[in-house]
Assembly symmetry: C2
Homo-oligomer: 345 residues x 2
């Protein structure tokens, strides 16, 4: 067992861990291990929003273009795509790319990303970009099995079993910056711009979580348990965050199905949510009935199947500074992502 914080990011603490020193996790988890030379990554979400009746040519163009450009020079080291129907009835397809090097990203973005959102041009299609570029101190991962997903695809492998999990506060303890910084929010993001082209003035220390599940390997009773006992509870929590989350600091939530390279649904999903701060996310997790129900359902599943669990779970939590965030919305409805927080007067 080892610390979730890699040696090269360990600092002289000025803040306590939330874990008690003798914590002994009841089930095993690992974290992604990145090369010490990796000091900052980019996670860039490119969204296309449309309806069945939307101009299909423009839609395909937007979707293909971004994936095509992912393949070009200095494109992401890894990417995946997921889809969901939002609360306004629009389908959304999000393509997320992960870069090892912000310089590569900046160069790529100049050629391919910067004009993409505004370049679709169809009246009934929205496009948006949500980007964070956290330093290595500002994100953490957690995996129930050593199958890389998300940012972990930039890693060189997985840790040994880590100590900092299976207690409340584990996510914070795994973010290296928590050793010296409370990561408190300063202000709230503000929507700016006019007409159909909007941006966001970011605030310090918002929090982004991508929290995923892969049930493609489940069979029999384990499959039934996931589909009947776990997933409906997970969905109810995701719906709550989407529809009422703002009252508790959740700025936006999407519960998505991952698709393959031909856009066919896989047996994988993830929730992607923006929070005013890590503390707000923690409070929801630790005390809100919707998350307690999710956690309880997961614990019940894990308690029954133990080490034979076929369901794979992972997440990545990022707490970017204001300068590490970028948001752009073009022709999107007013409940899209950060737009939910409302425009400034």
């Amino acid at each position: 067992m080892e610390s979730a914080i890699p040696q090269h990011l360990q600092r002289q603490r000025t803040r306590n861990r939330r874990m008690s020193g003798d914590h002994n996790p009841p089930y095993p988890s690992t974290v992604a291990r990145f090369d010490p030379t990796l000091t900052q990554v980019v996670m860039a979400y490119f969204g296309v929003q449309y309806k069945d009746e939307s101009d299909s040519e423009s839609r395909m163009k937007a979707l293909k273009e971004i994936v095509g450009s992912f393949g070009s020079a200095r494109g992401p080291a890894s990417w995946d795509r997921a889809t969901f129907v939002d609360e306004a009835g629009y389908e959304n397809m999000l393509s997320v790319g992960y870069w090892r090097d912000p310089d590569d990203f900046d160069d790529w973005f100049k050629s391919h990303g910067a004009t993409w959102a505004a370049g679709v041009g169809a009246e009934d299609i929205g496009t948006f970009i949500e980007i964070v570029r956290p330093t290595a101190e500002r994100f953490e991962t957690l995996f129930s099995s050593n199958t890389p997903e998300g940012v972990a695809k930039l890693a060189h492998g997985f840790s040994d079993l880590v100590q900092e999990h299976a207690y409340w506060g584990g996510a914070r303890d795994r973010v290296p910056l928590s050793q010296t910084d409370a990561m408190k929010p300063v202000g709230t993001p503000k929507v700016v711009g006019q007409g159909r082209h909007l941006r966001v003035i970011p605030s310090e220390n918002v929090c982004l979580i991508r929290s995923g599940q892969d049930w493609s390997g489940t069979e029999g009773e384990q499959r039934r348990m996931y589909l009947d006992d776990v997933e409906p509870v997970l969905r109810a929590g995701m719906d709550y965050l989407r529809d009422e989350g703002q009252e508790i600091g959740c700025l936006a939530n999407r519960y998505m199905t991952v698709v393959d390279r031909e856009d066919r649904a896989l047996e994988k999903s993830y929730g992607m949510s923006w929070w005013r701060s890590l503390a707000d996310l923690e409070r929801w997790a630790e005390s809100h009935p919707t998350h307690l129900a999710i956690f309880g359902a997961a614990m019940k599943y894990l308690g029954k199947v133990g080490a034979a669990a076929q369901l794979k779970l992972y997440h990545e939590v990022t707490v970017p500074s204001a300068s590490e965030q970028y948001f752009e919305y073009y022709n999107c409805h007013s409940k899209t992502g950060m737009l939910r927080i409302g425009e400034t007067p």
Copy 2:
């Protein structure tokens, strides 16, 4: 807002709190405040176990005797009584007395308690005694409203709102000894004796929790919510601990209805459970589906009614040393209290 640990028990810390320094609880709670001269209390449970068909004269004798003696010189400063039907189908009546001064208790016990358990003499009635005498460093309380119950009736009043609650780990942080001691268990209790008269060799740092609810003041929708939404979930958790708790470190659990001086049921109940350690209790609370469901139901209720909550909640958690415990069972069935852990070979 103030610390749950009173000034006179604050020590130079050698161990971290589980609370983060800037924690701001989302709802108010208080703790009982005791006079600094109170250095050790006694909590003594006297149980009578019987069936409908048990010798009614002997039963009444046992029940009356203990309450009668509570009223004699150096008796408890406060007492109450609760009843439940156990897993073997026996009715049990527990009378618990609270003493401010162990010397008073010892003197009283010599005259009234020491021979009580073995003095009933009826074949079909069991009697038992479970006593802890924690120093002030070894117990904590928590109240949602300033209505004293249990050990708090020995207090001179309530604190201002305290900071150490509404996060996982609050109970530990409120026990003063946690400032300097992990309160780890050493060994497990052992049942000794033969025939129908059994005692227990205690182990270091077992944990006793009395966790109560008073719904006598609830009306309308709040009453419905407690009875329909909260209580069944609470009962399911209590049943789990009683029937399967041993696998997770719960040595015994009783879910009881408080009765008045004429033994009529009140609209108050409490769970009384023995744990191998505070850490085992914490683990159940933080991760077991049965407790997450209880906590979720309570949070849902509190979230809806806020400061207008009519339901009153409280608990007291004690972590006695081995020398602060005393158990005696006479003619009780083998699942009574600590007897569940089984006899030594």
